[in-house]
Subunit: 195 residues, 2 copies
């Protein structure tokens, strides 16, 4: 029990340190400082920092994906979906998930292990997006025109890009007008949909 | 003349080093090694590495934006536009621009100076996207439905996200099916447009 607790504390501390310090400054010492643990504890739970970063990518991605699944379950209105995504996105930012992911993606350029893990997580998000999109376009002309898998890839890419834009913007203001425009488009989509 | 030549060599070497080594390993020594210059030359042209990174963001963004402008000028068919964007995107990847931008965006988390510069460059890309979109939707029902500025933000975000996905994928295969789907959608858009 205590062991599992320490492991999760390390993972949370790594997310927080990546978000506040950036990858280059996320040393074993910095992570241990954030989590108020001895640096040696890291090597009790993980082979090395690379191993810890891969586990962190998995941890933060799966935790957020669970929230996204729970919050979007059964939603069939596009407008309601966009409203929920907007709230979830605000959570992503507040929890440091957005900033940590940006750092991990950049770090993946020099860590094949981390790149592999992020590819696995990205695929899980694409599967999730594909299922949501399929539920929304079922029975509409869009279902025949745009393949859900490519729409899902585009959706995940757009999400990552919005994250990148807000990461650059200290006020995280960038997604506001974008979500507002998406909400108007979604309402239009809903009104055109066969019931 | 020689001075301008060295400055550009430093900027190109920084792009190449960021792309191949990642931000954390892009030291003055590594950049000088890539450019076959003495490390001290950096401090003759730039105040510090932060200054060099901001100049590099400006350099690679403006060079690519010039290419994008030249290649899309006068294009009014959406399908032709997507075909050209696909070629330009392949150039982005081949020149190390994609990977360097990912690294600089991540590095911006801990450098307000670099974040400012990247915001300026991103705004220039949004202006470019807005002008292209306005040219395409003029006279179509889409012009009234979707505000070009938000479409431009979404387009830039999607582009950045696709970059991120291909950055993760050693074969840079991710954008292939996406561009193919976009080309089909663009052809449909063209066929529905009033002449």
């Amino acid at each position: 029990m205590a062991r599992a607790g320490t492991r999760e504390r390390l993972l949370r501390a790594t997310v927080a340190t990546l978000a506040s310090q950036g990858y280059a400054r996320t040393t074993a010492r910095a992570i241990a400082g954030t989590g108020r643990l001895a640096p040696g504890v890291i090597y009790y739970h993980f082979a090395d920092l690379d191993d810890l970063f891969a586990a962190t990518a998995r941890f933060t991605s799966q935790a957020r994906l669970e929230r996204y699944r729970a919050e979007t379950e059964g939603v069939t209105s596009a407008a309601e979906l966009v409203r929920r995504l907007r709230r979830l996105y605000a959570e992503d930012a507040a929890e440091g998930h957005l900033a940590a992911v940006q750092e991990l993606v950049a770090a993946a350029a020099t860590s094949p292990r981390l790149a592999d893990q992020i590819r696995v997580e990205t695929a899980a998000w694409q599967d999730f997006a594909e299922a949501v999109i399929q539920r929304l376009v079922a029975g509409t002309p869009l279902a025949a025109l745009a393949p859900p898998r490519e729409l899902a890839t585009a959706a995940v890419a757009t999400y990552l890009g919005i994250e990148m834009l807000s990461h650059l913007d200290p006020g995280h203001a960038a997604p506001g007008p974008l979500f507002a425009a998406a909400e108007r488009a979604a309402a239009l989509f809903d009104s055109l949909r066969p019931r």
